[in-house]
Symmetry: C2
């Protein structure tokens, strides 16, 4: 009986745990789920003779060592900065390890050790990063293998709402993953990409106004804003000669224009703390960013500040729906940043109800030429809807690649070794093939 | 014969050195100017039997100790972060010390030691901070001493051009102090102030559009943008009950609107480095921040991006004059941030010619009430013009307070001890009185 160790039983691990525990009998595997919170781990596992949930402080080497030693493959769902220690323990004990997190230089430095020991350290294996790498590289390699060349590559991913839920909400959006990342999106590092051979840079305060329009058959229209650094994908995908490389995040049309109102106000700033939070209402919070005026209402000042007209209903409705003008107390204490206050206000409205669920969307665009020199355009898209507010498509698309990879390793079907991203055919082919069985698949469309 | 030690002989120390060396014979003092660059120190001092310029690595305790020991008062013009070591050496050797730099917590922690030894560590004694503290506190104390109360306080300072030079330049601006600080103005920390009892916050990308209009008799109109943190002056000036506290920087009208174009483009960003700098022209640099368009010129894209009309000549002329659309090479190598590239481009046009000089402007506004409860408004302004591109009013207004304070200490007329700002009458009264003799004086105006 082979053993799988999953570190972390939080919300992002639920679908992964359900998947592997569900396969345990068929696979003849035993799944151990370990979390700082033992009862959370037990609850995540449920009742199974092929699995258990236990309490573990994964930071404590003595505690984690026996668990790693008895495992055949380890999946770490811990916060990204903790992975380095876990990876080192795995290599020291001759275990494969898989994580959904971005590869760091520290982990990458262990490549030779992993090669020497014939072990696989597989990173960036969730949705984005993860399914994006695999689906894009499958098409890129396919074109290259036929002697073609990639001229332009664009790729967008979005965690959105399912068709029913989005109709109840003028933003057509709720939080379906880490709310803090949504509030801070685009901040911190510069947005860089290359378009038709020219390097382009977008400052944060223009990011949500420089969007791209996208349409996916049967799923309607979307808009995409640029991710921070598209250039790093150039070397990863070997696209050094491509004239355009652009990666972005998808939202439903109108979201970005509306979110830009928050950016313009300065309410997404996380760099300082505000005064008087404990007695602050939503209305007070937003008023702090509007110029003083002895007679005008907050509504009027807001319209003036944002250059809105009386009949800009689409934008005003979004502000009103989220409670911007409400006299409700924010409900936080102490000194808190604008970004944290905004997040708290948004969470009151942007949290999935139990019966609501989400939809993950991914869209790639390739312009390429074969040896005849004729330029062709290919779109590839994935749309996955969730089941409910726990079994979301986000949880599923993050968890499935990890779970599938763990099974393939145990079955001897993933033979790569070293510190890797899932950009090699030997890795992405079997994983993408399995993903299809669970409805995670791509539609391709040639555009003339 | 008393001895004055000046550490640092850079551009910011020239006026101070000229002043103290010029007074040395009359005062029977000897002035030693020490700089890392010995020839710079010699040149700054010139020929005098009462002064010398010498080479010194002030960071080296063994080197600086004999100089501090033989001095009666030390003036440090070194970079702010080096002051702490110099202050410690001065206290250990029973010497007074004066600096123009912001007081740090580290230096403030030496207050008791300075008190015990009856030594003065006087900080923030330049123009801003410096003359602003002294002139504002003189008025605030004057009102308080008559039983009045300060309700509102606003204060603006600007390093601008003299009346002749500003006419040759559509921005009516050139660099007269540290160019890097001008390019990065408003970045890094949030802009905070209090207006009519409400805390207000301005994000960077709105800072240069939320200006205040100011007029000074005989000197015309100015505009002011907010400094980063006005709130810290609340406790320093004991203005806890004031309903408005606002501090800002003065420019000539139109500057801020035009500078905001750079902010909107993102070219003031210092947080990342750009690609391809060595072959980049001015035009390429600005084009990197404009959305790609296969047919439109950089001029057209710029107008579109900034929402400019064909006849927005005032703004377009400023861009054109500074060389935004020029095919001249930037002239930098390697990976460089947008802010550094912008500074380099601006320095080609914004550097004073030898015959050109500057003008420093300070303006305070007080709203106060006496015991009769009637609210009154008082404006106080200072305008100082320089002599040439070396003897600027900026160098003069930074150097004179330091030089005057050093003389007053040697004459036994500054009797304070401890770590201090010049906010006490015993310090600011004699310094302001002396400053008048050199044309640095304030005009008061009651407004009804």
């Amino acid at each position: 009986m082979k053993r799988i160790l999953i570190l972390g039983a939080g919300r992002s691990a639920t679908a992964l745990i359900n998947f592997l525990v569900g396969k345990a009998k068929e696979d003849n595997t035993y799944v151990t789920v370990a979390d700082m919170d033992g009862s959370l781990a037990e609850k995540a596992v449920g009742v199974s003779e092929f699995a258990k949930g236990i309490q573990l402080n994964a930071l404590n080497e003595e505690e984690r060592l026996p668990l790693i030693q008895e495992a055949d493959v380890v999946i770490s769902m811990l916060p990204a900065h903790l992975h380095i220690d876990i990876v080192k323990s795995c290599l020291a004990n001759n275990k494969h390890i898989i994580t959904p997190s971005y590869l760091t230089e520290e982990i990458d430095a262990l490549h030779q050790e992993a090669l020497d020991k014939n072990l696989l350290v597989l990173n960036e294996l969730g949705l984005d990063p993860g399914i994006d790498h695999m689906s894009a590289m499958q098409i890129i390699d396919g074109i290259r293998n036929k002697g073609g060349e990639i001229l332009e590559f664009e790729s967008f991913t979005g965690g959105l709402l399912d068709s029913k839920t989005e109709l109840t909400n003028p933003w057509r959006y709720k939080f379906t993953w880490n709310p803090r990342n949504v509030v801070l999106a685009g901040q911190g590092r510069a947005v860089k990409f290359i378009q038709n051979g020219t390097y382009k840079y977008i400052p944060y305060h223009k990011l949500f106004r420089r969007t791209e329009k996208i349409e996916i058959d049967e799923h309607g229209k979307f808009e995409g804003y640029a991710n921070r650094d598209s250039l790093k994908y150039r070397s990863v995908y070997k696209l050094e000669d491509a004239r355009t490389i652009f990666r972005g995040t998808l939202r439903r049309p109108g979201y970005c224009r509306a979110w830009d109102m928050f950016v313009q106000l300065g309410v997404t700033d996380d760099s300082y703390n505000m005064e008087g939070v404990s007695t602050m209402t939503h209305r007070d919070f937003f008023n702090s960013f509007l110029a003083y005026n002895a007679t005008d209402s907050v509504e009027l000042k807001m319209m003036h500040y944002l250059n809105l007209r009386q009949d800009d209903d689409v934008l005003l409705e979004k502000l009103d729906w989220i409670g911007v003008f409400s006299s409700e107390l924010v409900g936080l204490e102490g000194k808190v940043s604008p970004a944290k206050i905004l997040q708290h206000i948004l969470e009151k409205k942007w949290t999935l109800e139990p019966h609501e669920t989400d939809r993950c969307v991914m869209w790639h665009k390739f312009i390429y030429k074969m040896q005849d020199g004729v330029e062709k355009e290919l779109h590839s898209s994935m749309v996955v809807e969730g089941e409910d507010s726990v079994n979301t498509s986000m949880a599923l698309t993050v968890g499935l690649p990890l779970g599938i990879a763990a099974r393939l390793i145990l079955q001897g079907k993933l033979k790569e070794s070293g510190v890797r991203l899932p950009i090699h055919a030997s890795i992405y082919e079997p994983i993408l093939e399995e993903l299809k069985k669970y409805g995670v698949l791509f539609n391709e469309k040639h555009v003339s």
